[in-house]
């Protein structure tokens, strides 16, 4: 006997009692779920960029333009730092993913309310796939960053690339954890997106994106590293630009931040998610 009330987050095929499924039902269910994930990613991309490559290029142009403007202005201010433009492009592109991913994740359930109120589906899929567009952009940015570094005379080693991909993955998990919690909270607190816009605006200056971290007194560094994008950006710069692998302790701290984001996000989502449809 399967309890549907306790299975709100599961696929309806689970409610078929064991032993009664036709042969091959389980693999078909997995394929169906994969189809749902792919369709959500594809349709999100289509809605956001009007189904054209041109639309996607516009999305890339925003941080690229920002990079050109900031580099033009601040490279004079930090002329003594020969790696400034490399640090800037890494910081900006990672930040763009964080900002876009969290903003999309926060409104994920509300934006897909048309599905949640009409049918039963695992709502976590809606949240995770909402980050997909920002993730595609991050993938393109990762390639741009690596090419830019190579052309700037800093061709990254395979070790550095592997570390950078790991930091990208850590940032993705941080964004997913945040999105899980914020998407259900947004249904109860409808101005959370405006508050988050303010936090993101301030956070852009808290993370050392346009300024080198060492211009601030060292006693403040700890507080800056509490802001999740900071360790990801700084560790990526360390591996790619300076060729220095952060210490095991630093990696443990980053893993701790990722774990906290995911655990808190999952707890909040599991607690509030099952009643999400009632707030739509």
């Amino acid at each position: 006997m399967t309890n549907a009330s306790a299975e709100t987050e599961r696929d309806s095929t689970r409610s078929v009692p064991v032993g009664t499924e036709p042969s091959g039902a389980a693999p078909r269910a997995v394929i169906a779920r994969a189809g749902l994930i792919w369709t959500l990613i594809r349709t999100d991309f289509k809605v956001r960029y009007h189904g054209t490559l041109g639309g996607f290029v516009w999305a890339l142009l925003k941080p690229l333009t920002m990079f050109v403007i900031l580099m033009s202005v601040f490279s004079f201010l930090f002329a003594s730092n020969p790696d400034y433009k490399l640090n800037l492009i890494i910081g900006l592109f990672l930040w763009d993913f964080f900002a876009e991913g969290t903003k999309s994740g926060l409104v994920a359930l509300d934006a897909k309310g048309f599905l949640l109120t009409k049918t039963r589906l695992p709502s976590w899929i809606l949240v995770v796939t909402s980050v997909s567009n920002a993730l595609i952009t991050l993938g393109v940015f990762t390639v741009i960053i690596l090419v830019f570094l190579a052309f700037a005379g800093h061709p990254p080693t395979w070790h550095a690339v592997a570390l950078f991909v790991a930091y990208d993955a850590a940032l993705v998990l941080i964004v997913v954890g945040f999105s899980l919690a914020s998407s259900v909270l947004f249904l109860r607190y409808r101005d959370l997106n405006q508050l988050w816009d303010m936090v993101v605006q301030a956070g852009f200056f808290v993370a050392p994106i346009i300024y080198p971290l060492n211009i601030l007194p060292e006693r403040f560094h700890f507080y800056l590293f509490l802001w999740p994008p900071t360790p990801v950006i700084e560790f990526s710069r360390s591996a790619l630009v300076r060729g220095v692998t952060p210490t095991a302790t630093a990696h443990a701290c980053l893993a701790g931040v990722v774990t906290i984001c995911l655990v808190v996000g999952t707890i909040v989502f599991r607690r509030l998610g099952p009643r999400a449809a009632e707030y739509l």
Partner: protein, 250 residues
């Protein structure tokens, strides 16, 4: 064994006297006591649906029909009691299946079809049939925001009739479309019944319920006040509508 079993299910909504929907409203209202009104929508509802059965649910507006369907479909969680669903449920609630207005009909069919559990390959195989059923082949590439409510409802029924795997939940069947579409719906409904699918229907139309259901529940104030053959329950429902008095529990 029952396909769906509703076991003493209750559901209430807490309606605040003043809604607070933002962080700002919560902060400014921190010192003001909040008053809530409790709206009992479902009150210890118990029934079961057997495999292959067509069960109708009738009741006046606001009696809890939609909440009951959403609870059965797993969209709402009951406050107490249990809902046992032993087969996949395909719902059409409030005349729709949940469209993205910014997508065209083809993408929406892919989205809803995959939400309902159809593999993408099957959806593409059935795409022409779905569009033909809804008579929307010419508008397949038109965004849903440009569809009339009737067109989008027709598409919803067409997808659900194709995607149904075991149990079909229909809120107000045949409330949309012209005579031709209704005929196709009736024919498809009978096909699904003949194939052994379980049906759960909600309607205000006693004739329709009598024609399509084996057994009917009458819901009032969140409680089942009558259960039985379609004709008798439909008569009782009509007398409820004409006599304002509260029905007695049976």
């Amino acid at each position: 064994m029952s396909v769906i079993e509703i076991d003493v299910v209750s559901k209430a909504f807490r309606i605040p006297a003043v809604r607070r929907e933002t962080v700002r409203e919560h902060i400014f209202g921190l010192l003001e006591p909040r008053r809530f009104q409790r709206l009992q929508v479902l009150d210890r509802v118990t029934f079961a649906v057997e495999r292959g059965e067509a069960l109708g649910i009738m009741g006046r507006n606001g009696c809890g029909k939609s909440t009951l369907l959403k609870t059965i479909c797993g969209i709402y969680r009951p406050d107490s009691g249990r809902v046992y669903a032993r087969a996949p449920i395909t719902p059409i609630l409030e005349l729709g299946v949940g469209w993205n207005p910014e997508l065209d009909a083809i993408d929406n069919v892919c989205l809803i079809g995959s939400v309902m559990g159809l593999p993408l390959r099957d959806i593409w195989k059935r795409m022409d049939r779905i569009l033909a059923f809804a008579e929307l082949e010419r508008f397949a590439n038109l965004k849903l925001k440009h569809y009339s409510s009737g067109m989008s409802s027709r598409l919803g029924y067409a997808v659900a009739f194709e995607a149904v795997r075991d149990t079909l939940v229909l809120d107000e069947i045949l409330a949309v479309g012209d005579a031709g579409f209704k005929e196709r719906c009736v024919a498809r409904y009978r096909e699904l019944r003949a194939a052994g699918h379980t049906m759960l229907l909600v309607s205000h139309d006693p004739h329709l319920i009598a024609a399509f259901c084996d057994r009917v529940l009458l819901l009032d104030d969140g409680r089942i006040v009558m259960e039985g053959a379609a004709g008798k329950v439909a008569d009782r429902y009509l007398s409820m509508l004409t006599h304002a008095g509260t029905p007695q529990l049976q």
